[in-house]
């Protein structure tokens, strides 16, 4: 089989359906490996990977780091808060300094949309986008779709609703691309102020009523309200948002069918989703986290195969 059609993972938009299926197939094997007594393979022992996090992250950074270590890569970590970025260094300078230490791959999270794309054109290393501002978060979308496939057997033909702050969410955009490429139907749901104006151009349905959206879907992906990215007030209060768009056990139990509940984390319990829903049998939130490691191992492994010796 061929390798990925891309040299970097910048966004799902650049991937073909075949690429996504290849990543899933490879991730299946890695999922088996991370459930073994010895959860490590030696494939990448001659590769060094830098994790550059210019923005806060817990889950994604740990997940990437674990994925890299389970592939036996050497790992260096960098976070903006404790670095020379604070002293005025540019992105290119920071990265080139790190690459002079012979780094083969860079996993980067950055607050600016397009930062990963910019870097991939300027430096000689494989780039994996771990989230660039409000643009894309490709590995999250891959692990979400992988988790849907694992739970429902298939992604094609399934109906997925993404609920919440679509406007500020890179997870939403990557998810829309990924699910559509795999043949799923996508709907977004949230207050008008948090739905991008031209979203219909992506071919998604828009619904402002949570109950109607949930009745339509097979899977609901509940997003967090990204208060840190909101420069103005988009809704009167968190309490009001929660009453309109929060998913409770009562709503879930009153639906005509059983749906799967997802959340990319971090959860604000009691805002977009209540504790009893997050911890219910219908929730696959922790499966998503486990699959995250397998998916990231697959992405790194397949991109590393493209590093020239």
């Amino acid at each position: 089989m061929d390798n990925l059609s891309v040299d970097h993972l910048i966004g799902i938009k650049d991937l073909t359906e075949k690429d996504i299926q290849l990543i899933f197939k490879t991730a299946d094997s890695f999922k088996e490996i991370i459930n073994r007594p010895i959860k490590k393979v030696p494939s990448l022992r001659d590769i060094t990977i830098a994790n550059l996090f210019f923005e806060n992250s817990t889950r994604t950074r740990l997940s990437f780091e674990l994925a890299e270590k389970r592939l036996s890569a050497d790992v260096i970590n960098f976070s903006a808060s404790s670095s020379s970025v604070k002293k005025g260094e540019t992105l290119i300078d920071t990265v080139n300094n790190i690459l002079s230490m012979k780094v083969d791959m860079v996993v980067m999270r950055h607050p600016n949309p397009g930062a990963a794309m910019f870097l991939s054109k300027k430096v000689n290393a494989k780039i994996v986008n771990a989230g660039d501002g409000t643009h894309e978060h490709p590995t999250q979308a891959l692990l979400d779709a992988f988790s849907i496939k694992e739970r429902l057997g298939e992604v094609a033909g399934k109906k997925v609703v993404i609920v919440g702050d679509i406007l500020h969410s890179r997870v939403a955009l990557s998810n829309i691309y990924c699910l559509q490429k795999l043949g799923a139907e996508v709907m977004v749901c949230g207050p008008t102020t948090l739905i991008p104006k031209y979203i219909h151009e992506l071919g998604v349905k828009v619904e402002h009523n949570l109950i109607k959206a949930l009745e339509w879907c097979d899977v609901a992906n509940m997003l967090r309200i990204q208060l840190e990215r909101q420069d103005i007030k988009y809704f009167p209060s968190l309490r009001e948002y929660s009453m309109q768009y929060g998913l409770t056990k009562e709503i879930l139990d009153n639906l005509s069918k059983e749906i799967v509940v997802m959340h990319p984390g971090p959860i604000n319990r009691g805002v977009e989703i209540t504790s009893d829903v997050a911890d219910s049998k219908q929730s696959i939130i922790l499966d998503q986290v486990e699959n995250g490691v397998a998916i990231r191992m697959a992405v790194i492994y397949l991109l590393a195969a493209k590093i020239e010796r």
Binding site: M1, D2, N3, L22, K25, T26, S29, E32, I33, R36, P37, I38, K40, V41, P42, S43, L44, L71, Y301, L302, A304, A305, I307, R309
Partner: protein
């Protein structure tokens, strides 16, 4: 490619039977022995051995399949990535006698990866190697088989294919020799 039959259907069957009896000689009723086939082609051989062994000793024989993709030493030396197969080892190998099984032993590199991959599951008390075809004098690592179906001398440019009734429609072993370049 010029094609030559190394083992025909009848010889294939005889050789398999002999391998089974050799295994039984050393492992009795397989109480403490497991067979592990290397993916992808060693697994067919394990399945056939299991069938035969169980009908001879009338006892279940524990068998597994091991994928070695991520343990290979030629990662990034290949044009295309190898697509991994399934590993299926649902038993403990700690303290067991393990017989690694592959269809063709050539450079020894696959077996080296196989040993590495297997050790991720525990520490067996003893490991042996069974191969259907041994392409001797072609080894790149100091690895030898304990049970050999047939030993053959080959050139590095030649290819040996073990074909199975359930996959290719016929049990036999073929040697492919590249034709000499007519352009000189």
């Amino acid at each position: 490619m010029e094609k030559q039959v190394i083992l025909n259907e009848k010889q294939f069957e005889l050789t398999l039977n002999r391998l089974c009896f050799q295994l039984i000689e050393n492992h009795d009723l397989f109480q403490n022995t497991v067979l592990i086939g290397l993916q992808p082609r060693g697994v067919h051989l394990v399945n056939r051995l299991k069938q035969k062994l169980e009908s001879i000793i009338q006892q279940p024989v524990t068998c597994g399949a091991l994928d070695i993709t991520f343990y290979r030493d030629d990662f990034r030396r290949r044009e295309r990535p190898i697509i991994p197969s399934v590993t299926n080892i649902d038993f403990v190998i700690e303290g067991k006698n393990v017989v690694l099984v592959d269809d063709v032993l050539f450079t020894g590199r696959t077996i080296r990866s196989g040993i590495d991959a297997m050790l991720a599951y525990g520490r067996p008390s003893k490991v042996e190697l069974l191969t259907f075809i041994d392409r001797r004098f072609r080894r790149q690592l100091p690895i030898q088989a304990d049970y050999i179906g047939k030993t053959i001398d080959t050139l590095a440019s030649e290819r040996v294919n073990v074909e199975w009734k359930e996959i290719e429609g016929k049990d036999n072993i073929l040697l492919y020799t590249p034709e000499k370049n007519s352009n000189g």
